[in-house]
């Protein structure tokens, strides 16, 4: 193991680790906090909550976002809810159970210490959000309501209709606005981070492009926090927002931060199916729909044919001719199996020829029995906005005909490697939320991303970053005229100039779509050795083609969305290659990573704990050199390792 890979998990019993750690880390006095600067990149749940909480503590915070307002960050699109171990429904939930479900849901590829801490602070998040005025759903008695999510047998998900991410982000954004108003946080909108600046091996600033003027700007600080989300857009088509990208974490990687588990990407089972090559993005239908919706395909191929040729409607197929395949295969969890399991089961049925639309890549999500049981009104109350969204996109009324859904790329569990303090392998560089790799192992459970983003931002980072900054109270402000800034700025400008100078014959999107096809076909839901090897070659060829044939119109010194995209896609191509390498090396199936060679007789994932119970931590070796892998071995002291069973 590389000596940089010290996870710093505190010793002692699981339930005492975080408490003990907090007593042992240093704190910074209020007067000294005023002298310390922190840069936060990204304003989703992680970034906005961290910036707000750090501002409240008295640090000087600079926060950056690529949109015109922090409120646009993609956390806003999270629909279903946020988990917490409140046990309000009295169904025997506990911090331990939330911890256990998360570790098991992640297929035993995450750290016990981190995940326990996440479960531990989950309750504080709900308390804080309520105090901020987040309008969570309530019972008639005025108390908070809960619903169920995949991978769990209790109801622990708090929600605000199908717009929970929006409401939590507006809460964090409001807390951020308050700090901006008080002057402790400065906000920089329409800025994109293009590099991290290291001085004597420590992160001391960033280089950004002002997306309105095209100017390259420098900002310095005592520490830098990366909260820029995941890199699911490597696949071109995903549920991520169009501007979500992996460039900030990729620049950190190239400056020496290790990349944890790059191949771990989550494929969400319930998205609206692809309609054609012109499609720009996939829309998620919340997992919460699986509370009341039942997933099925026809039992008989004749019915499939009739559906495809539009001779019959789904609602005309009688009960006895429907195969509720999740209920059939996983009686204990039924429609609420984890996302990776549900996605693969849908693929299995479609591969077997039971896909219900023209492309053969769709299954039904049906509310008929719930509407009959609860009435249309209740369903409308619970999911009204999602049903409306579905109808607007597909022109089909889901109260009458079942929804058609198919899996799509949704989330990346992999990300910058961080220790227990959320610090990367670069001193002074921290990473939180989806941008880091830490809590979800091989598969993230539904309603846990919001929990992690806010846990990191509100309750963990503000403590742990203090431990580092306590050593910096004597350090002067970072000088942005330092040669390290000159060098980083020069490199960024050269890269931009190089992209313009190619003057090839295809727009950026052409290459992005091509990359997406390679990734989805070979590094997607099912992976195998030959496919992955081929993908690595194809991506290398694509990289060459991109740098020879891309056409970026316009100039650098103006608002230019094509150069923005070109910079991102150049990085996505390189990230895609690393993902394929990581997937190739991990010759086991776990969570969302499914290697065809490694499956049980009934098609379930087959882990290889003996050889792969580790986090793969990649180190950048330099241009045109093969990245180096290090391994952080995972120790399970408290949980008994078992194969995941959602059948009984």
């Amino acid at each position: 193991m590389s000596e940089k890979l010290n996870s710093k998990i505190p010793e002692g019993p699981l339930s005492e680790k975080w408490t003990k750690h907090k007593t042992q880390i240093r704190v910074v006095s209020p007067a000294n906090k005023l002298k310390l600067d922190i840069i936060v990149v990204g304003t989703g749940l992680g970034g906005a909550s961290a910036a707000a909480a750090l501002g409240e503590l008295g640090y000087n915070v600079k926060v950056f976002c690529i949109s015109d307002s922090p409120r646009r960050a993609h956390s806003i699109a999270a629909q279903g809810g946020i988990n917490a171990a409140k046990n309000y429904p009295n169904d025997n939930d506990s911090v331990y159970r939330l911890f256990y479900d998360t570790i098991k849901g992640g297929d035993y590829r995450s750290r016990e210490g981190n995940v326990y801490r996440l479960a531990e602070v989950s309750n504080n998040i709900i308390d804080l959000c309520v105090a901020q005025g987040v309008p969570f759903a309530r019972e008639y008695g005025g108390l908070l309501d809960n619903r169920s999510f995949g991978g769990s047998q209790v109801s622990r998900t708090f929600y605000a209709r199908g717009q929970t991410g929006q409401q939590l982000l507006l809460g964090a954004y409001a807390a951020l606005n308050r700090q901006i108003n008080l002057g402790s946080v400065q906000s920089y909108n329409r800025r994109e981070m293009l590099d991290v600046v290291l001085i004597d091996g420590e992160a001391k600033g960033i280089i950004v492009r002002n997306l309105v003027t095209g100017e390259i700007e420098r900002y310095g600080a005592h520490a830098v926090v990366i909260a820029t989300g995941g890199y699911g857009n490597v696949f071109f088509l995903s549920t991520n927002a169009m501007n979500s990208n992996g460039s900030s974490i990729w620049q950190c990687y190239k400056k020496g931060a290790f990349f944890g588990n790059p191949s771990f990407a989550q494929i969400h089972p319930t998205c609206i199916p692809v309609h054609g090559e012109q499609q720009s993005k996939l829309t998620l239908m919340s997992e919460s729909l699986r509370n009341d919706g039942r997933i099925w395909v026809p039992k008989r191929k004749e019915d499939v044919e009739k559906l495809r040729s539009k001779k019959i409607l789904a609602s005309q197929i009688p009960e006895e001719d429907r195969d509720y395949y999740l209920e059939r295969r996983y009686p204990a969890f039924g429609n609420l199996v984890p996302r990776d399991v549900a996605s693969r089961a849908a693929k299995e049925r479609c591969d077997a020829g039971y896909g219900v639309n023209e492309t053969g890549l769709a299954v039904f999500l049906d509310f008929k029995s719930s509407i009959a049981r609860l009435g249309k009104g209740v369903i409308e109350e619970r999911y009204g906005n999602l049903f409306q969204m579905y109808e607007k996109i597909t022109d089909v009324n889901p109260y009458e005909e079942p929804m058609m859904i198919y899996p799509a790329i949704h989330y990346t569990m992999g990300g910058l490697w961080v220790d227990y303090n959320l610090q990367t392998t670069i001193t002074g560089l921290y990473s939180i939320g989806e941008a880091n790799f830490s809590d979800h192992g091989g598969n993230r459970l539904g309603a846990s991303a919001l929990m992690q983003g806010l846990a990191d931002g509100y309750f963990i980072l503000p403590y742990t970053i203090g431990d580092y900054l306590a050593q910096k109270i004597q350090s002067p402000k970072t000088d942005i005229n330092h040669p390290a800034f000159d060098e980083a700025e020069k490199a960024v400008k050269e890269k931009i100039a190089k992209l313009f100078s190619v003057k090839g014959s295809n727009p950026v999107d052409y290459f992005h779509k091509k990359l997406g096809h390679i990734m989805w076909d070979y590094v997607g839901m099912a992976r195998d050795e030959i496919g992955l090897q081929g993908a690595i070659e194809k991506i290398a060829a694509l990289k060459e083609e991109f740098w020879k044939d891309v056409y970026v119109p316009g100039d650098a010194g103006e608002l230019n969305q094509e150069i923005e995209k070109a910079l991102r896609v150049a990085d996505f191509i390189e990230m895609g290659e690393l993902m394929a390498r990581d997937a190739l090396l991990r010759k086991e199936s776990c969570g969302g990573h499914f290697r065809e060679e490694m499956q049980t007789e009934d098609g379930e994932t087959k882990r290889d704990d003996e050889n792969f119970m580790y986090v793969s931590c990649w180190e950048y070796a330099g241009e045109n050199k093969t990245d180096i892998i290090h391994k952080e071995t995972l120790q399970y002291e408290f949980v008994k390792i078992a194969s995941r069973n959602y059948k009984d």
Binding site: A53, E56, S67, D68, S69, R71, R72, I76, A77, K86, Y88, D127, L128, C129, V130, A131, G133, P135, A137, R138, G142, L144, A160, Q163, Q166, Y173, A174, A175, N177, R178, I180, N189, V212, A241, M242, G276, Q278, S280, K281, T283, N385, Q388, M389, K392, I393, F459, K503, S505, N506, P507, D509, Y510, Y551, P553, G554, E558, L559, N560, Q561, E562
Partner: protein, 260 residues
């Protein structure tokens, strides 16, 4: 489907803009409006690929159209197109990204403009500056609590209907359609949605008076117009936010002022 697109082109905030027309062909009715814009841009970029035409000075017209967009599922509030004289185009209760080409007639001429309002100046083509909206919220659109030290979430019960009303107001995506639609360029629906959603909850009630005064003062300072109750904002709001929130804000404001 084929269309003629009449698109507002403006190089920067300082320069004058004008309409340019483009032809676009073979669009599937299931294509979303923004995907249609992607196709237009692909066409424009490819027409500029020919280096001869670039050198002849044709570059300006082949630059892709700049427009704001992000989530493409109707929640981030980034997209902001004024289509055929309506904010977010000819369908109700949606943002531009949720609009599909099946809502248009084959062969139709479609006029595409940016939001036009004094409070939201054009930056380029169809992109406008909405910083003023952030500034209004920064003036007071929050509950003044710090992280930590808050009571258990179930300590204060909130009547369900009140929580639902608050949620209705809180569903504002901050796109600015209400302002772009209002003949006075008023931001009342936007501001009142935030004021109302917080004032309806016991947690937000405590500083309701302070909040409404600060936000209204900021709104006035930034030059947004007055409300003359035409209710056009409500008609075009993609989230169907009701003008009753404006009434609630006026009441809150009056009460706050009376106490001064």
């Amino acid at each position: 489907m084929d269309f003629i697109l009449k698109v507002w082109r403006q190089k920067s905030a300082r320069e004058k803009g004008s309409f340019e027309s483009y032809q676009i062909k073979d669009i599937s009715p299931d294509t979303s409006f923004l995907e249609m814009m992607d196709i237009l841009n692909d066409q424009l970029i490819r027409s500029g690929v020919d280096p001869v035409s670039v050198e002849k000075g044709c570059k300006g017209s082949s630059d892709p159209v700049a427009f704001d967009h992000d989530c493409r599922e109707g929640i981030c509030g980034m997209c902001s197109l004024y289509i055929n004289g309506r904010a977010h185009g000819p369908d109700d209760d949606i943002t531009t990204c949720q609009l599909h080409m099946r809502k248009f007639k084959d062969g139709e001429t479609i006029t595409i403009e940016p939001w036009r309002s004094a409070g939201m100046p054009v930056i380029k083509d169809l992109i406008v500056d909405r910083n003023a909206l952030d500034k209004i919220l920064q003036a007071g659109g929050y509950v003044s609590v710090n992280t930590g030290g808050v009571p258990d979430a179930n300590t204060i019960p909130v009547p369900r209907d009140q929580a639902e009303d608050s949620m209705d107001a809180a569903s504002c995506v901050g796109c600015g359609a209400c302002i772009a639609t209002c003949k006075n360029g008023s931001a009342m629906l936007f501001v009142s949605a935030r004021v109302s959603s917080l004032a309806l909850l016991p947690q937000g009630k405590i500083e309701a008076a302070r909040r409404v005064k600060a936000m209204v003062a900021k709104m006035d300072e930034l030059g947004f117009g007055a409300c003359t109750n035409t209710r056009a904002c409500e008609m075009e709001c993609p989230k169907s936010i009701s003008v009753t929130h404006i009434a609630r804000m006026n009441r809150e404001f009056l009460l706050a002022k009376l106490k001064d």
